[in-house]
Symmetry: C2
Subunit: 512 residues, 2 copies
């Protein structure tokens, strides 16, 4: 049997980080922009983001949350107010200090010294402060609660080491911000958002995740509780793919979000915030990519089916194109995963095989190649992205009558969606080890082990200095605690860090 000649030059097992960059480049998802830490998101990458937005936005609206838009700029003083309340406030932010450029006398431009802002403006790293100020205006009475808002926006956090989709200075996200009358209602919203993220990740991204609570040291600054969904990448590392925070009354106190309760007393609201970002696309790549490029789950694929006519620059092309266009129309009128099929007829000039491999690398679920003789015989050849190679190490095309394909198309897409999830879940589950001592943990993550996965341990949930000791001990071997899963079996043994009685389980892993 001859060896498969994969479409990428770098294999996952050889260099996962380089492989990741090659997928992004070869699938034409994004590229460096020439602006430090910022990327250009190209049509295929942005198309996936648009799908993520559409599907997530539907869920957000269904939960009764209203989209708004808040300013990009936040006055410095808003952060100062925040900084009083919050230890460890991140300060790597883009600071606007001038509002005009003038000639520098040497043919260039420079910030105009006469246009220095009285108060610098910060490009939002997140919008708690400016939304808190709006909520303080909007909330007067218990009747105004819950107040459920969301925005889709760009945010900026100055990053020293950047990586496309995973950590960029500017990124795109949605940030939900809600205010509630009491703790119970706010906690219910925090967990509703977390469950929304879990369901979205697993159903639409086909990316299995663990939903749980972050340990105290990983809480959002100022939060009372931070929850996350954590996904395992194919190199065994964890990716925090979404977070939801219960903020108690701390932010309401800082912003003055107060309401009159039914008895007429003034109360501070309890607030939450929750978000997912373009980072999800990094997670998608590292969950489903293979040595031939990306594989996009049909639910978020900009095109689910691409039709490639084998054009020959002859007059026969016209009949072939007409046949393909007819097929495109029929497919576009069909429904899969609750929406019309997204199908592209790729009429661009160029060799069909080159075009085929470009679409393979982009991860289109189904590719249909159709030649002139196929059209005459009412036949198509289908390539399913998760069954790319046959036993002869050739592209695994299946020829079939068009009518057969049409009866199978929706099922093929649904099956592929499911298969990607099942494959990712099996891999993840096979790479989670129950570990019952710190030595065992260190051995599990020994330097010479490639892509070990995660360890599930039991611990006593220490706090303060004792927790800090655990964090440092893990950090020394490049490990972090990810989260304590919700709905897990109770702990039964001893804490692997303190030796005391364990109270819960927590995942330990290397992380992005």
């Amino acid at each position: 049997m001859s060896a498969i000649r994969h479409a990428l030059s770098i294999k996952r097992e050889d260099d996962f980080a380089q492989w990741y960059q090659e997928v992004i480049s070869e699938a034409e998802m994004a590229e460096e922009s020439g602006v430090r830490g910022c990327m250009v998101i190209k049509p295929w990458g942005y198309g996936i983001w648009e799908r993520i937005q559409r599907l997530m936005d539907d869920r957000i609206k269904a939960a009764g949350v209203s989209n708004c838009y808040f300013p990009l700029f936040i006055p410095l003083s808003y952060f100062a107010k925040e900084a009083e309340h919050v230890e460890g406030f991140a300060k790597e932010m883009a600071v606007v200090t001038h509002h005009r450029l003038v000639g520098d006398g040497k043919g260039g431009l420079t910030p105009d010294p006469d246009a220095k802002l009285e108060e610098p403006l910060i490009v939002r790293p997140t919008s708690e402060t400016v939304i808190g100020a709006a909520m303080a205006r909007w909330v007067q009475s218990w009747r105004d609660l819950p107040l459920l808002t969301n925005q889709w926006a760009n945010v900026v956090r100055w990053e020293m080491r950047t990586r496309m989709f995973l950590r960029t200075s500017e990124f795109l996200w949605q940030e939900g911000h809600t205010a509630h009358a009491d703790r119970d209602d706010a906690m219910a919203e925090t967990l509703r958002a977390l469950e929304m993220y879990r369901d979205f990740a697993e159903t639409d991204l086909a990316m299995p995740v663990i939903a749980g609570e972050k340990p105290e040291n990983e809480r959002f600054p100022g939060a009372v509780g931070t929850y996350s969904i954590e996904a395992m990448m194919q190199d065994g590392k964890a990716l925090q793919a979404g977070t939801s925070h219960y903020l108690g009354t701390g932010f309401a106190e800082a912003s003055g979000i107060q309401y009159q309760d039914k008895e007429g007393a003034q109360q501070y609201a309890h607030t939450t915030s929750w978000g997912v970002s373009t980072r999800l696309i990094g997670g998608l790549i590292m969950t489903h990519g293979d040595d031939d490029g990306l594989r996009v789950p049909p639910a978020v694929a900009p095109h689910q089916v691409v039709i490639l006519p084998m054009l020959r620059d002859t007059p026969d092309d016209e009949a072939l194109l007409a046949y393909c266009e007819e097929l495109r129309k029929v497919l576009a009128g069909m429904s899969v995963l609750g929406e019309p099929v997204r199908v592209l007829l790729d009429k661009r000039p160029g060799k069909a095989t080159q075009k085929r491999w470009a679409w393979v690398k982009k991860g289109v679920p189904l590719i249909l190649e159709i030649g002139g003789r196929d059209a005459a015989a009412d036949q198509i050849s289908m390539l399913r992205r998760d069954k790319l190679w046959n036993e002869a190490a050739k592209a695994n095309f299946q020829a079939m009558p068009q009518v057969e394909f049409l009866t199978r198309a929706a099922a093929e897409l649904q099956e592929l969606q499911d298969a990607l999830y099942v494959e990712a879940k099996a891999r993840r589950d096979a790479h989670i080890a129950q570990v019952s001592s710190f030595d065992e943990l260190a051995a599990f993550f020994a330097e010479d082990k490639r892509y070990p996965g995660w360890a599930e341990v039991e611990w006593s949930r220490p706090t303060g200095a004792e927790l800090e000791e655990v964090v440092q001990k893990l950090k020394a071997i490049k490990l972090t605690m990810r989260n304590t899963p919700l709905h897990a079996a109770p702990a039964a043994g001893k804490c692997i860090f303190t030796g005391r009685l364990a109270v819960e389980r927590i995942y330990v892993a290397r992380a992005y």
Copy 2:
């Protein structure tokens, strides 16, 4: 006959500017954010923007344009390059000079002097330069053309005098950027985008516009030709509601967008750019608003129908709500203007009349009030927003059997969509005067005339110093030239400015 008691406190004819602010406030569309020149867009305003985005994005995609995302920040040197080529380059921009905050030793925060950027970054006022740099990477051969990109983004232009939706320091928009092999193809794209905007404005916003070419003095800096759609507001002023630019090869030369043509020679691409923004919402308000608030055309209304149950805090409410929910479902399953009907059942506590007037001010096309007895008799009362008052100066509810309403609902919405357009167009056409001398022009716009409208004049299309003289002469009486309409009857007389033979018609107006 008793006088109508309108829902707003300010009438259009008394103070149009104040009326505009009152609509925005009472319809809960937007508010001042506390950040200079930036607004908070509230759910009703943002919901209209989401509708605009959806309908425009469909048109953009149907034209084969791909959405991308480019960086928020543009290095200063990109503008310096631009500034060399472009006279009159706008320089009021937000400048980022630092990437970190530190404590100022007085409990506050300050930009960290150790984190000064080597090169300042500009918050994009528009993205020609940074997209040009990407196009220079992407375009190599004639096969790569046309290259059709678009992005939905926020941009910042430092404005001294701001007005919500019309002129804000930060605003939301889409910006299309395309590169073509030659002038003809680029001009065709420029005019395609212009026609897309005209069709969108008239079909979806029900806002009649004049599509035409801006005079030379109003061209986008660096453009060879700038085209616009111009709408007449109810105070007779013009609003430039969208622009499309043919940029020649100037931007390609500045950015290095070159391609090898079929003969193997290096050529500069011809580029275009085109955009519409949240300013459209200002246009919507000033086109369709009345003394009772906004009237939203059904195509862009976040809710087309609001059902208001007359709740009485009694056990009977349950049956009433069930009846209303059933009606909501039936309506949501119906289709109007090519999409499912967007219907809200407003179950919030509060008096039905208060809620009714809140929805009237927001401009919901159809309000249905239903009481317990109505439900029992299978009746509804319908209020259509463009037929708000009856002859007795009362809210013009029409009671009818539910089944009758259901058969009429789609037609009522379509009629309202059409009626708003017809009304706006009749008003605009009645306020355009043919003017054949400068004195007549000055008289038409005399200070004591309220909301005069526009003048259509013939001119000789002067250039250079002669044009500048015309511009200054108009400016002295607060007038501007808007555009030369496409497909207009040819000029037949003399230029009202130069006295020479006229070559075309142009609109003159006060403007936003």
